[in-house]
Assembly symmetry: C2
Homo-oligomer: 404 residues x 2
């Protein structure tokens, strides 16, 4: 498994582009993205569990109900959610894209991210699809990635190369997401492309299985967006024998998918709104995996733990407290907590009780940009990892006037 | 029902005091509080649901298992939680208090609030109980209230006068709580006293019933403390016929208790760490009360809604989003949202879709210190209210270096 460049254009037959069409006033940022496969592809997607669902999700769900898609159109600056004409606008976005590309409207995945409840004007999109098609390129991943960003400060892009039945395959992705991440109007959107041949049902199975340990284990702020979507297209151009059941090939594919998704998860958490640190909480010794997941997520979601990490304060009581209210069945008298980073390790709690530690060492450990919070529960072999970020002044500033 | 002064000393036979004993370095803030009833009183309490429970809670639970207590001792600056000798220290606090007052140790309620996981030194407490007894006064409520504060910026104190069977009764309370409020090391502590005569079982029933609509409906930051406690003492000195069953007298008592608790809830939420605004979310038209409660709490807990309120930004999409992920069974196409304050009303969403509104009016409404978020669900007659506060830069500053 080799990390390569190219993002969503790494896999054979995929092109992408991003332009500024005018949804956002600022001309310095692209706001409309296109990903295109030269042939129809197997398609699978997962969507937000929020009952308030963006209109584009409803339309996409219907379009890929046959397991096939060939293009993704996505705008930023407006979520097209809670608008009376949302479905109509999302259908128009698909139709305009299909017409320009000469494909079927039902083979278009449509997504939007931005403010909720403000009507989305179709005019800039109608004017933008022509230039978007003209700009399609196998070096277009970074432009597409920029076009889907909202409060993101960094592009999130990766690809890997692997082998299936002797054939070289590639899988790559782009993501956006910075606030309202619990997977989750800053919305989390992830688009993945691969040239591996895989049947729609197996692609769906792979995606739904992997997100339980990846995107569903990140939290920036505990708010679940209305427009979340992770979508994958597999066009089969690598020429491998199509994956139609579980087995070695499926395992290799799952491993590739997991590698990409973990990278994107870490990138999203590290770029959480206002974040100065990536937090990773690794729980071990749980009685089962579900318990480990509940504990890991509770720790990365705790506002008090997040604020303590921003302040580089080894206030492990915040961690214990979050474990205690997680709802997981835990023997608090067996809990151990350590902080780890590139600067070293510091154990702060054993058997539910504080242990003396060097504040000077703790301070060095917590001064790093990536902090691991290691929790041992002493109760079994279940483990899980969750990702989050610290809570900073900047988060408040960003969200105090998001609309303006 | 008349609002009166006096706090926990309003009811007959209750005295209180607060001194600086030295748990906190700062000599400008009292850190040890005492509440004393001249006669043994019926007692009831509710405790945090966090699995990590402060040692004082364990000791208190045991002491009032017979439904009787006569004094409350409480320190701030150290939570006496996650310490190897926590129970021993809490028992020593009780014993020292009982000895000084000439009462039974098992009639002492003990509570602590402050940092978790740092051994609590008994020496300053042992030295403090004498002066604390000497300072007991029927004007001591404010001193006791100051002594239990941590990051609180305001004292939270109230009392009411009411009549039971022709006898004048009084019920009053003090509270502390500013962060880690989701009832909930900034801990929420509430001590209530009344001279009404009420059997321990009925007192327990009244308290457990009322907190479901009061203290369990506040959230500052979604973190549930390890040391929460709401405790009530009823000494019967008002001379009313003891309440031993449901009926008119119990209803009057419940009304008095609810009045006190709503006031303290609003005070705690308004004084949330870093808060600049009190948020009240009133949900109506739910299919049942449980649904209304889930929705109301989800809205006041949403970091994005809280940050938008801090920024005085009528970003109602944040409210819709929080309703959608609350887990409640809601028809999002029927949801209505308005913002209300002393400056007026502004409707922002009807039937799940945005309605045009004056940004100038919205800005005036949201500029106030108390904001009501009114949510109608159009689905029945269930209603509920939850209280919270905005999310400010100051919350982050306070919790970035809480220990230091």
């Amino acid at each position: 498994m080799k990390i390569i460049s190219g993002g969503v254009c790494a896999a054979k037959g995929f092109q992408a582009s991003g332009v500024h069409c005018g949804i956002r006033a600022s001309r310095t940022k692209r706001d409309l993205a296109l990903i295109y496969s030269s042939v129809p592809a197997s398609a699978a997607a997962v969507y937000t569990t929020n009952l308030v669902k963006g209109a584009p999700l409803t339309v996409t769900k219907q379009h890929i109900s046959d397991g096939v898609a060939q293009a993704v159109i996505c705008n930023s600056g407006n979520a097209n959610t809670c608008n009376a004409n949302g479905i109509e606008i999302a259908e128009q976005m698909s139709a305009l894209t299909a017409q320009t590309l000469g494909i079927q409207a039902r083979d278009v995945v449509v997504a939007s991210t931005g403010v909720i409840g403000q009507p989305l004007d179709i005019a800039p999109i109608a004017a933008g699809v022509g230039p978007l098609k003209a700009a399609l390129s196998d070096k277009g991943s970074a432009d597409a990635c920029e076009a889907i960003m909202t409060t993101d400060t960094r592009q999130k892009e990766i690809a890997v190369e692997f082998t299936l039945g002797g054939k070289t395959c590639r899988l790559g992705g782009i993501a956006k997401g910075s606030g309202m991440i619990h997977p989750n109007m800053a919305t989390m959107l992830v688009f993945l492309t691969t040239d591996a041949a895989i049947a729609p049902a197996m692609l769906d199975k792979a995606l739904k299985g992997d997100i339980q340990n990846t995107f569903n284990m990140i939290s920036v702020d505990g708010d679940t967006s209305t427009n979340d979507m992770v979508c994958i297209l597999a066009n089969g151009l690598a020429g491998n024998e199509e994956i139609t059941e579980e087995g070695e090939d499926f395992s290799v594919f799952m491993k590739a998918l997991n590698t990409i998704n973990i990278h994107l998860c870490r990138s999203i958490a590290a770029d959480g709104e206002g974040a100065t640190k990536l937090l990773e909480c690794a729980v071990t010794g749980a009685k089962d995996e579900a318990t480990a997941k509940t504990v890991a997520k509770s720790v990365v979601c705790s506002s008090l733990t997040k604020a303590a990490m921003f302040g580089e304060d080894a206030n492990w009581g915040r961690v214990l407290c979050a474990i205690g209210y997680s709802g997981a069945d835990v023997d608090v008298d067996k809990v151990g907590v350590s902080f780890h980073s590139a600067a070293g390790d510091v154990e702060v709690c054993r058997d539910g009780t504080g242990v003396p530690f060097s504040e000077e060492l703790a301070s060095r450990v917590l001064h790093e940009g990536e902090i691991d919070i290691l929790v041992s529960l002493g109760d079994g072999s279940g483990s899980a990892t969750a990702w989050g970020c610290d809570l900073s002044y900047e988060y408040v500033r960003i969200n105090g006037d998001y609309r303006t």
